[in-house]
């Protein structure tokens, strides 16, 4: 069937309705078949020699290779082996198939981290290594960076060199919102505690009441780390309450 279609399509003209099509054979010529359309002979094909010849009723055309046209690759095969692609739908992460029940839709393959803050360290390999090492070892700094993208670059890296970043710090450390807005920048590194404190203050969701107070003596009743004015107001309210009870 495909061969027939290809025979008709040689020369890239494909009649949509080719009429009554018949392939006829002869007992004394087993390697050849002859094409008849609406009772008129249109050509013949030699299987052994792979030769197709047109026939206009009187003369035979020149032989043409048949398999070459039907086996032709796409107009351009640049390296995708389509025959190996899944017939249905397939999702995988790092080569491991993901069961459809785990993912509602294909986009679930990619986390929606479009609002994550960006912490970028730009400096020499040693400078970057020190900051990144503290990020792993210092729990305070690790907590301050939770939910952020942390990346480090050499000052010459294309991602920072021509993008408007200051690259002359030792190192330069940026905290940015997802849209690029700079929330904090420092051009020196003074250790994990100071960086953690700076990052906490710079975060848009910064809440001073959650600041850890490591200066508090052990064993003392743990009180919230509210601003001093809040404590004054609470004290006044308590005094008023006690005075009213005395009366």
């Amino acid at each position: 069937m495909v061969l027939l279609a290809a025979a008709i399509c040689l020369g890239q003209t494909c009649p949509v309705s080719p009429g009554l099509v018949e392939w006829r054979t002869r007992d004394d010529d087993p390697h050849r078949v002859y094409l008849f359309v609406d009772g008129r002979q249109r050509g013949g094909y030699d299987w052994a020699a792979d030769e197709w010849r047109d026939f206009d009723g009187q003369t035979w055309g020149r032989p043409r290779s048949f398999r070459q046209s039907i086996m032709a690759k796409p107009a351009g095969d640049f390296g995708v082996m389509r025959e190996h692609l899944a017939a249905g739908e397939r999702l995988s992460i790092q080569g491991q198939s993901v069961a459809e029940s785990r993912l509602a839709s294909p986009e679930s393959l990619v986390p929606d981290d479009s609002t994550n803050l960006r912490l970028t360290v730009i400096g020499s390999p040693e400078q970057r290594r020190r900051v990144l090492g503290d990020l792993v070892e210092n729990t305070d700094l690790a907590e301050a960076c939770r939910g952020m993208f942390v990346q480090s670059y050499a000052p010459t890296d294309w991602a920072v060199a021509d993008a408007g970043f200051v690259t002359t710090g030792s190192p330069t450390i940026y905290l940015q919102a997802a849209n690029g807005r700079v929330l904090h920048r420092q051009d020196e590194y003074h250790g994990p505690e100071r960086l953690a404190a700076a990052l906490r203050r710079a975060r848009p969701d910064y809440d001073p009441s959650k600041d850890p107070n490591r200066d508090r003596p052990l064993g003392v009743l743990s009180l919230p780390n509210w601003p001093r004015t809040v404590w004054y107001v609470l004290g006044i309210v308590a005094c008023l309450f006690l005075l009213r009870r005395k009366r």
């Binding site: 095969d77 899944a86 739908e89 397939r90 294909p106 970028t120 993208f149 670059y153």
Partner: protein, 213 residues
Amino acid sequence: MRYLVALVSLGMGTVVGLQPEATSQINGRSFDGDELTCDLPALEHLANIASRRDGRGMCVMTSIEMAARWHGLETMRGLRDWCANQPGGAYPAKVDRQIREFCEARGVPIPLYAQYEGPHIDTLLDRCDRTGRMACVTYGYSPRYGGTIAHMVCCTRFGPRYAVALDNNFPGTHSYEWMSRDEMRRRIVHPNGRGWVFVWLAPPPPPPPCHEP
């Protein structure tokens, strides 16, 4: 019989005679007020090559290494050339194997990546665009080629109006192929209605710094 012949002929005609309309245009990094999401500098663009083993194209690993450069995955630099020592052409399972072998040979961990095969590519590409990730996608035709092709390119934009292909057969700052997102979708799933998407899950580079975006 004649109906079957007609059907097959129609199918052959689709493959042999397909001449897609000029539904895209070649432009730079911006067009009609829209900009690339993944603006990889031209110096980091990679051109497709042939396998040194069998001469088949390396468009898949070329796209994947280009996307790795966008995501700052320096350990993946050289992936295309390393794979070109093996027979060319690729498909998802082969990509899994070659990335694993490459990382083993280099002694580096395998970066996280995801692959999708199927018809529902729109929401996945929307997610890639929103999160700034460069997806590698199959590409079934383009006016640049004039017929059906077996190709993979990088999708550097899949926005509400426009989508953009960075074709490794035409790398360079002024060679981006801009089209409507519907047209991009058609090209990705051509000719059998299903596409293949590869995406690194590492974060993209930080956005340019600013004070009031």
